[in-house]
């Protein structure tokens, strides 16, 4: 009886040990994945910030002003240089009766 119990406990011990090793392996794999995803996230955030700065640099007021006046011959708006637009909306659509 004692021998059988020992064998069962031994088997349980072995299963537990192997399971722990497996879990440890899984845990490390998940941590590695997590770290990789985290690094990727930081890299993308940094890239986003860089592109945001590039966008602002390309659209900075001095550059826009220079292109508008130099290339497009635009003028700075004053109340004296104004196009008055008359609002003429279409007639409202006829609503059908239910």
């Amino acid at each position: 009886m004692l021998t059988r119990l020992s064998i069962v406990l031994m088997a349980a011990l072995l299963v537990s040990a192997f399971y722990q090793i497996q879990m440890q392996y899984q845990s490390r794999r998940v941590v590695t994945e997590l770290d990789r995803a985290r690094t990727q996230g930081l890299r993308l955030a940094a890239e986003h910030e860089r592109l945001e700065v590039e966008r602002r640099t390309a659209s900075k007021a001095l550059r826009v002003e220079s292109l508008a006046t130099g290339r497009l011959d635009m003028q700075v708006v004053t109340p004296a240089i104004t196009e008055y637009v008359q609002w003429r909306p279409h007639a409202p659509a006829q609503q059908g009766s239910p």
Binding site: T32, T57, A61, E83
Partner: protein
């Protein structure tokens, strides 16, 4: 064949010596004892040492860098931000790149091949910088070369998208991203943040496989939102640059304040510099002249003199002042006007900018009264704004004034102030006599900012009316009038001090004013230093810059014109309703 049973083997019958088996047993026992002793030594007695050695091989403490906060304008547009820009370094002894690869590397790093070769020739060194703060796409191209002995460290670089237009205001950081000048320096603690860390176990491939203990998360620096409107700032910078170049001047400054909240909307200086180019980060052009340098203001002090006298009840707007014959002797000094204006009203003194008129008005006041009002307007005090090196200007205590000094201060000599201080002082006129503190940071609710009353409402309005007359025909600042908006302002043409005396042909041209004059929303000060292209007066050099900046400031702020405008182009068209 006859078999022999195992138990009957003749070999077993031979008698082995007992000492041999005992020796074997003792030997095995000693081996086990040694192993147990070693295990006890490793696990118990010197466990800390072995644990440390183990960790040294696999455990790493990773720094988690904190992002430096961004600097934004009042509308959330980016003025400064940190981007990844790796540092590239080499271990010369390990570099085996051929000439073509080295040439390609030199091209990517934008450095001469000779210089690169010289650095890589230092094979006795294990570390040499090749280039710091390389742009991320270029760093990726360098990495793609897969050169042995060429390494990269992660690093951040500060970028300033608006460039020179806001350079002296934003300032810059050093290569380690610590603020060195401007807002980057004054708000460094808020912007910097704190790095974090975490302890991890890495496998032989360098991958993180386990985290040990609690992670200390990085605390990113806070974003800072300034009161500056970058569109207005750029426009002001551009107009200032054009004026300084056209007038052959040394430099210039423009300050735009929100007349009600005290927020600084624009603070432009020219010449400026490109903050991303470290080669330019030295010399006088780094100074934010509008804040850090004090100048004698000249005639733009006259409205303040008049306001003090009005408030004291010594004069009224229509009080007559005799300025003939255009010269006035005070002790051993003779004060001149540009013309003989005869008898002027107090309004006329401002409109014509009469030195003698301002002097005679000041003579009705006590030095103490003048000094107290100057001090209340912020002259002689450091402005309370988040900017390093803001000047106090010069304003001596009234007890030390001589009569001639009191007289000259009435028209702006014998004291000094920065353009920011002057604009702030004029805010008292714009805000019906109440002076609101300045702010370089955007205020959440401008209505809650308490101010200090310096002048009565009637005095402030009377002075505004005089300032309006000064830009109308017959005044000195007619070129300051924009289209569609009423303005009031004062010209100033101050002689420069050189080597302790006044230079005969060197001037500073000023114009300070506000708009719309009935209910001012902006106060603008313009200073142009040493114009040399023929014009020297504030009314011809600085007033046009004021006009353009005011025009745009009011338009950008969405303030409707308060004057009837005859449109230069009138087109009438029908708009289609958007589908």
């Amino acid at each position: 064949m006859k078999s022999i049973r195992y138990t009957a083997s003749p070999l077993l019958t031979s008698q082995a010596p007992v000492w041999r088996s005992k020796l074997l047993v003792v030997g095995l026992a000693l081996m086990f004892l040694t192993m147990i002793a070693r295990a006890a030594y490793v696990q118990v007695f010197d466990n800390a040492f072995f644990r440390h050695q183990g960790e040294a091989r696999f455990v790493r403490t990773l720094q988690l860098p904190a992002n430096r906060g961004r600097i934004l304008d009042r509308n959330g547009l980016l003025l400064a931000s940190s981007v990844v820009a790796p540092d590239v370094w080499a271990s010369p002894a390990d570099v085996d790149a051929d000439l073509a690869q080295r040439r390609e590397l030199a091209r990517l790093l934008d450095m001469p091949l000779d210089k690169l070769q010289a650095r890589l020739a230092a094979t006795d060194k294990s570390f040499v910088w090749l280039k710091r703060h390389v742009d991320a796409p270029v760093a990726q191209q360098v990495a793609d070369l897969k050169l042995a002995g060429i390494h990269q460290d992660k690093s951040y670089k500060r970028r300033y998208p608006e460039g020179e237009a806001v350079a002296q205001l934003i300032g810059f950081t050093d290569i380690e991203n610590q603020g060195l000048d401007g807002v980057e320096l004054s708000l460094d603690q808020r912007l910097a943040g704190h790095a974090g860390s975490r302890r991890v176990i890495r496998d032989r491939l360098g991958q993180v496989v386990e985290q040990l203990g609690e992670e200390v998360p990085p605390i990113d620096g806070q974003d800072v939102q300034l009161s500056i409107d970058v569109k207005l700032q750029s426009y002001a910078y551009q107009k200032l640059r054009d004026a300084v170049d056209a007038q052959g001047a040394r430099s210039g400054s423009v300050v735009v304040l929100d007349a009600q909240s005290g927020e600084v909307l624009s603070l432009a200086n020219y010449p400026s510099y490109t903050p991303g180019n470290r080669g330019e980060l030295k010399g006088p052009h780094l100074r934010n002249l509008a804040v850090t340098d004090a100048f004698e203001p000249g005639s733009i002090m006259k409205p303040i003199t008049v306001a003090i006298a009005l408030d004291a009840g010594e004069v009224a707007p229509q009080t007559l002042i005799e300025t003939a014959p255009g010269r006035y002797k005070l002790g051993r000094y003779v004060i001149h006007d540009t013309h003989d204006y005869g008898t002027l009203s107090v309004q006329g003194v401002i409109q014509k900018s009469s030195n003698i008129g301002a002097l005679k008005i000041a003579q009705k006041l006590t030095p103490q009264r003048m000094w107290e009002t100057y001090a209340a307007l912020g002259l002689g005090r450091r402005p309370d704004i988040a900017f390093p090196g803001a000047t106090t200007g010069q304003l001596r205590l009234w007890k030390d004034w001589r009569p001639v000094e009191q007289a000259t201060m009435a028209y702006g000599y014998g004291l000094s102030a920065s353009p920011l201080q002057i604009a702030h002082a004029y805010m008292a006129f714009a805000n019906d006599g109440v002076l609101v503190p300045l702010s370089l940071l955007r205020r959440a609710d401008a209505a809650l900012v308490p101010g200090v009353r310096v002048f009565s409402v009637n005095t402030a309005r009377a002075v505004r009316r005089m300032l309006q007359m000064a830009v109308e025909p017959g005044g000195t600042g007619t070129q300051a009038r924009p289209v569609g908006y009423s303005v009031g302002g004062k010209t100033g043409t101050a002689r420069k001090q050189v080597d302790g005396g006044y230079a005969s042909r060197k001037y500073r041209a000023w114009f300070v004013g506000m708009a719309p004059v009935e209910q001012p929303r902006v106060v603008v000060a313009v200073m142009i230093d040493e114009p040399s292209a023929g014009h020297i007066y504030g009314g011809t050099v600085a007033a046009p810059v004021f006009r353009d900046v005011v025009q745009q400031a009011l338009r950008i702020r969405g303030i409707k014109p308060d004057l009837v405008v005859e449109p230069a182009i009138v087109a009438s068209s029908a708009a289609e309703e958007p589908s």
